[in-house]
Amino acid sequence: MALLEARGIKKVFARLTALNGVDLTVAENEFHGLIGPNGSGKSTLMKCIAGAEMPTQGAIHFAGRDITAAPPATRARAGLSLKFQITSVLPALTVYDNVLLALQAQDSLSSLVFSRTRGPLHERVLHTLEQFRLAARAGDPAAALSHGQQQWLEIAMALAPEPRLLLLDEPTAGMSREERRVTGELLIPVKRRCSLVIVEHDLDFIRDICDVLTVLDQGNVIESGPVAQVQSSTKVQEVYLSRV
């Protein structure tokens, strides 16, 4: 059974229909790319899945549970993790504390009050920071990081709690070519650990790491399937690729 199943997702903002009955299925350990022109509804779909927006219609099932109306914290506790499009690390906290904050999020209240996981999580924080090449900056405030490093920190924070599904909204936006390459490298080992839904404008990047692509245009799915199949689809080439 699929890990994530979104059926007939419709989202209407005032007079704008951002999503018009979108279906999305993500299997375990699948890397699923969402592409489409600007305004095609990619980010809105991500937000509906994560709980930042409530769909006007449709149902979302995650790991066998109906999460259509669940608040974000409940979804996170079920194993859904999100990296927003806009970088939103916690600027005044140290890089280390940013990761710790993400790791301890599901601890019990008494565990937080008595700092019971401060010691046990130490190694995991360091390991995560090393993985994302941030170990040397552990003690600096997150605000002092470069834009690319802040994006890595966010991905690190989204991945740290070992989610079952990671939602990445434009992880390489504003990154240099070299930073993009490194980001791709950083994401490869993730495949063994969880599924991924990624929104990205860089098509080379997305082709390299994804198994399945879904193409959105004006709130509708126009094609969905393995990368090779989507790439050869004339419909996609007409609607999307030709315009980019």
Binding site: A73, Q106, L126, R133
Partner: protein, 354 residues
């Protein structure tokens, strides 16, 4: 002993951030000064400083809600006054004056009232806005004051006068050095508790909430619950302060519940600087000392001078008086194990092969 702890905390802070930490030094200095004050002050001044200590508890409760949890509460006096009235009634009508009953009772009453108001304001279906909570708490405080003014059983405008003295067994805790040390010990205890809490992993969650409330829900934090917990805890502290205040003054009145006092608490904390705990205490000391001195020397104009002083600090020093001494980095603090003490060579080693 005091010197020793300054040395050890300064040493620890240096190794953490490379800079000397100011807050622990200020804390120990204040602790040392206030520990000996009654020995050098005349009794009428000791009574005045006791009042300052009790108000510091109240400011501390506001610092917790606003400085740490980002909840703007204009209702701390509500919990203070509700507890004050309750223990006054316990003493008047039931003759209960034992410190071991009245202080825990005032704490519980503060807790229950804030729990009730907090559940209503914070745990609704939709996350409340800052303004909603500010107005909600303000209204609560206002309504409580009006209620007390009009309620005959509570003494109406006059409040409840001549509350019996607080007792510990057969010993009477009269105002002066004895009551001073009771208030001092309570303040130190509550302060240490708050300090422990805001520096724990729970404090990290609060710091995250203060900075990016919307973001941390996506990690799995139940933001509204965190807020309600801090609000209730702060209410309990305000209640405790109310119990101490009622017996110290020997009377309670409607002003103890009202908007004026609620606002005054906000100003204490903003003046001293929120989000450091010690800033709130400094705010109370500074404002009360200045008022005391001005009221003596410049009877007519002191409220104007005080008002201007407050405006100046709040407009030009958003971090308050403590912000003059303490960096933003120290104010936020660190929560994990000392990140800076990691040997640098280790990271370099792991950089290469990636």
């Amino acid at each position: 002993m005091a010197d020793e702890s300054v040395a050890s905390s300064a040493h620890r802070s240096v190794s953490r951030s490379g800079r000397i930490a100011i807050i622990p030094i200020v804390e120990v200095a204040l602790l040392a000064i206030f520990a000996v004050l009654p020995l050098v002050l005349q009794d009428y001044l000791t009574i005045f400083v006791t009042r300052v200590l009790i108000l510091a508890l109240l400011a501390l409760s506001f610092d917790l809600v606003w400085g740490y949890a980002g909840i703007m509460s204009f209702g701390q006096a509500l919990f203070f006054g509700a507890a004050g009235y309750s223990v006054a009634l316990l003493a008047r009508d039931l003759g209960i004056t034992s410190v071991f009953i009245v202080l825990p009772a005032s704490l519980v009453i503060g807790l229950l009232v804030s729990l009730a108001l907090g559940s209503f304001l914070l745990l609704g279906r939709h996350p409340p806005t800052t303004i909603f909570v500010a107005l909600g708490t303000l209204t609560g405080s206002y309504a409580a004051e009006r209620l007390a003014r009009g309620w005959y059983y509570l003494g109406g405008q006059n409040g409840i006068p001549s509350i019996p003295t607080m007792t510990a067994g057969s010993y009477e805790l009269v105002e002066g050095p004895v009551y001073y040390y009771l208030a001092f010990a309570t303040l130190v205890l509550v302060y240490l508790l708050c300090r422990f809490l805001v520096r724990s992993q729970f404090g990290l969650a609060l710091a995250g909430m203060r900075e990016q409330e919307a973001r941390i829900a996506f990690f799995g934090y139940r933001v509204e619950r965190l807020k309600a917990i801090v609000f209730t805890l702060a209410g309990a502290i305000a209640g405790l302060a109310g119990g101490l205040y009622a017996f110290h003054e020997g009377f309670v009145g409607p002003n103890m519940l009202g908007v004026v006092l609620s606002t005054q608490i906000v100003l204490y904390a903003l003046f001293g600087g929120v989000g450091t705990l010690v800033g709130a205490v400094i705010g109370v000391i500074a404002i009360e000392m200045v008022s005391f001195w001005l009221a003596d020397s410049y009877q007519q104009v002191w409220p104007i001078i005080l008002g201007l002083l407050l405006l100046l600090v709040i407009l030009f020093r958003p971090t308050g008086l403590i912000g003059l001494l303490v960096s933003e980095r120290e104010r936020v603090g660190t929560f994990g194990r000392r990140p800076r003490t990691l040997p640098r060579a280790d990271h370099e080693g792991q950089h290469g092969p990636a």
